[in-house]
Amino acid sequence: MLRFSFPPAFRRSCCILLTAAIVSCKLLGQQDFNHFQTLQSQGAIPGDFFKATSEKIAEDMDAKRTDLSTAKEKEFLENIHSSIDHLLHSGSVIYGDEISEYVSAVADNLLRNEPELRRQLRFYTIKSNETNALSTDQGIVFVTTGLVSQLASEAQLAYILSHEISHYTEKHVIQTYSWKRENAYERNRLEKLSAYSKEHEFEADKLALRRYHAAGYSKEEVLSTFDVLMYSYLPFDEIEVPNSYFMTERLYIPDSYFATKKYPIKANENYNDDRSSHPNIKKRKDAITLSLKDYANWGTVVFSQSVEHFNYIRNLARFESIRTDIISADFGEALYSVFLLEREYPESVYLKQMKALAWLGLLQFREEGHHNKTVPASNDYEGESAAMYYFLRKLNKNATQTLAIRNILDLQRSLPEDEMLAEIRKRLTKTLAGSSHFSWSDYSTVDFHTMAQRSAAPPDSLKTALSEEEKPQSKYDRIKSQKSVNSIERFDSTQFYFYGLGDILSDTAFLDEYHNYKNEYNARKAHEEKLNAMTPKERYEYDREHKGETDNPLAIHLEKTVLTQPVIVDHRKGKPDRYASEKLTMKLSEILENVSQNHGVEINTIDHNDIRLNGTASFNERSTLYGLLEQTARYEDINAFPADYMLLKTIRETYGTSDLMYTMVEHHYKADINIAIIGVSTLLFPTLPITLLGYVPIQLLRGHRTTISAVIIDAASGTVKTAYHVEMRNKPGAYYLGSVYNYLFSQLKQTH
């Protein structure tokens, strides 16, 4: 059979064209929430996202935007560009997407009489559940998905944008920077800075009214915007969760598991803001109430675009918030958001996938004893969501296992063709197989209600009813029967979880899968135990006998990998030197490509250069890969199932590998010269030459510390395949790095 294979560059171009085609189709239509996909950047890539930091600083220096001296301006520009570029390249900022476009349209409305100002501003979205907006000195206004998800009207967004635009026009960023420089040694600096910052906030609140009023927005929406800010720590809606939400036809949960009281919302608008950069809500409301009187002839616009479109945009943000929760392992919040959105979109595949992921996450964290991190603690219980958090925290290990199995299997059965749900189910099965606290023998084939009825029935009649079905039993059969979870004697209504999976006990395909994983797990465990039980001599002999069977964890037979933005951070004088870092980072990509080539490993690098060449498609790929990395880190030692499973699948197919490589190098220089030693040797004068010619140069030479870290994550499963970390006392020179990566690739190439 003849097979044609296309070169990777050709496959890549096809993929980019295909992505562009999909993006253009999406621009014409709206997202279908039943098949929601995480928001991605669209259209041409703005310069903010592909220009190097040094390039931006040079451009701004030429433009001379500030009144600062050249040195101070350079320092200022370095600070703001490097911090904003960190954000822009973090993988959580998107451009040209529907939310950013909507925000831009609202800004167009606000700035219709100020075209020059409008031209200076760019609006981007941050995928974050924090309720926030911020503007930068460069003219970028960021809006978080968390903020959009909380809004009640377009006018509220308009007021927030107007506030941020005022910060930009009044140059508050540079003023704060200058203040900090001038008052570096001020007493009570933090309090004074807070007061200074609050002045800016009051000024921006006040100035925001001018554009807001001119655009014809409604006066009533101004004060309600502050309510959005005040209650933004709560979920995006307040709906009671009925107890029945967690139950199914097969699974009954007793009332004792549910909260019996309501948790009041404790927010107070007159909170202590002494050390805060923003005045408290009451002060802001009072100030704005006075300022409102300065304007007459208020407009009535609450929505300049349709309400439906606003709701659509807000729903995008709300759907997006669930992914953010999953990545952050905030499963309690994710499940409450799913509950809220399921009411409107009960058939949404996305919601089902996210719900399954949340239950899988709850189970995995519970197994590792980290479950307290995944659901808000009781002192954070406020409002309707508290009932859900109370319930989730009440679940013990068995209950969590049962609910995870019940939910994931039901979700997967409702969408048997869905690949992601099928994979989540497999991960569930693997997790159960690896649990020492899980056994199918604990589970009853009889459901809770039937058992409850049997146990409540008069003993004699029950005995008669049962004995009619049973054959004569031996003593031992009777003991076994009494110990069985199906026995009436053992029935305990608080252990509802053992009576909710009866139907699954007859699902032979699922059980076979479980037993296969269990056998694998047991074999692995037995092998580990055998090795641990060996004496050092036995272990030595064993290792000699099995010399060929390498235990090298780096040996993963790597043939192809997608390398995500290798990074070097070069610290000088205690802070990152962006020029040196940028230069070295470019070198690092070259080194990695050369070294991998020498070892016959095909490497596809998605970095700044690639983004500059291929634009948005490449930028989106990098964001997805960063998303996986962040999720992996947040889950710590738990194998995260990728929230962006389907996007990662596209990347896997494009590059023909599921091995994703991330690497970074960090360099510090600090000579540990102990002044006391020099002091002592000065006093003992004859030893001074030894100190100056011996101790000092040695310490100067030993001052370099470079750490090189690399991790390879499997895009299909989200598991960390291998990780490598090494520290060297050299500068991150090309040949040192080449040597480290040469070693690394030589090991990665080996077969386990």
Binding site: E630, Y724, N730, Q747
Partner: protein, 284 residues
């Protein structure tokens, strides 16, 4: 903000990884041949140096002028390899160190009629060549790429010093006359005459042996996959074995005391020395 988290992420995922391992060698290569030049400014490098009150002389326009021995140099060749785990190495170092010793201050001259008498002379500095053969253990800093990178060298070896066999200049420092070959002749003429006909009577055959202890810190900076530039500091403590009887360097009618010569050489050889080391190594 989040970028910082991402950096930390990679570090977090790997920092506590049991998979952290040391690499071995530069691009996997662990053997090396190195050529080093050594230099030493005596003014501050000879720790505890004392010249014994002798003067140094060096030739200048057909004469000898007072001088100080400011600068010494040497070279060595090292052949070595990293040990199995890559965090240490072993090498064999051999080379020469060139230094100057004060020449003798007395010339003994024999007159058949008057017997031996002493002429005070200025003798050109003696060129001392010290051969060193030294096994060296290299201890690398954690994560270095031995032979490249920062490493500490500790060595213990043997040395053998000889005075270079060459024509040394000498001249009389004595203006007095002495009865010589039947006439009163100024001593400088006697010395010049002997020197013109027979040269300096320095014995260059004997060797001074001893041992040397080395501590060095060396940085080998790679400039290609195979070549490293090395630089660093070396501290050597040299000791000579117990003095042997060097005797008298007798040329028939004149001679010098070898004891004086070799004490001077020994003093130079056994100086503790701080030297700067610059070289290159080929990684094989």
């Amino acid at each position: 903000m989040r970028k910082v988290i991402l950096f930390q992420t990679i570090i977090t995922l790997t920092a506590f990884s049991a998979f952290a391992q040391n690499k071995k060698g530069l691009f996997g290569k662990t053997q090396f041949v190195e050529f080093n030049s050594l230099s030493c400014f005596n003014a501050f490098s000879h720790l505890g140096y004392y010249n014994g009150g002798y003067y140094s002389y060096s030739p200048s326009e057909n004469s000898l002028s007072r001088s100080t021995d400011k600068f010494n140099y040497g070279w060595n060749v090292t052949v070595g390899t990293a040990l199995k785990k890559g965090n240490a190495g072993f090498s064999l170092q051999t080379g020469f160190w060139y230094s100057n010793a004060n020449g003798p201050s007395d010339l003994r001259v024999y007159d058949p009629q008057n017997g031996w008498f002493t002429a005070y002379i200025a003798h050109e500095n003696l060129r001392v060549r010290t051969f060193i053969l030294m096994p060296v253990v290299h201890l690398t800093e954690n994560g270095s790429f031995f032979p490249a990178g920062l490493n500490h060298e500790i060595g213990f070896g043997l040395l053998s010093s000889r005075i270079a066999d060459r024509e040394y200049a000498l001249k009389s420092m004595d203006e007095g006359s002495y009865y010589w070959n039947g006439t009163y002749t100024p001593v400088n003429k006697i010395v010049d005459s002997i020197y013109q006909s027979k040269g300096s009577p320095i014995d260059t055959k004997s060797a001074i042996k001893g041992y040397s202890i080395l501590y060095g810190i060396k940085f080998r900076t790679p400039v290609s996959k195979n070549v490293v530039i090395s630089w660093g500091l070396r501290y050597t403590l040299n000791f000579t074995f117990k003095s042997q009887d060097y005797g008298w360097s007798d040329q028939g009618n004149y001679g010098i005391s070898n004891i004086e010569v070799y004490e001077s050489v020994k003093r130079v050889v056994s100086n503790n020395r701080l030297s700067l080391n610059v070289g290159a190594a080929w990684i094989l």
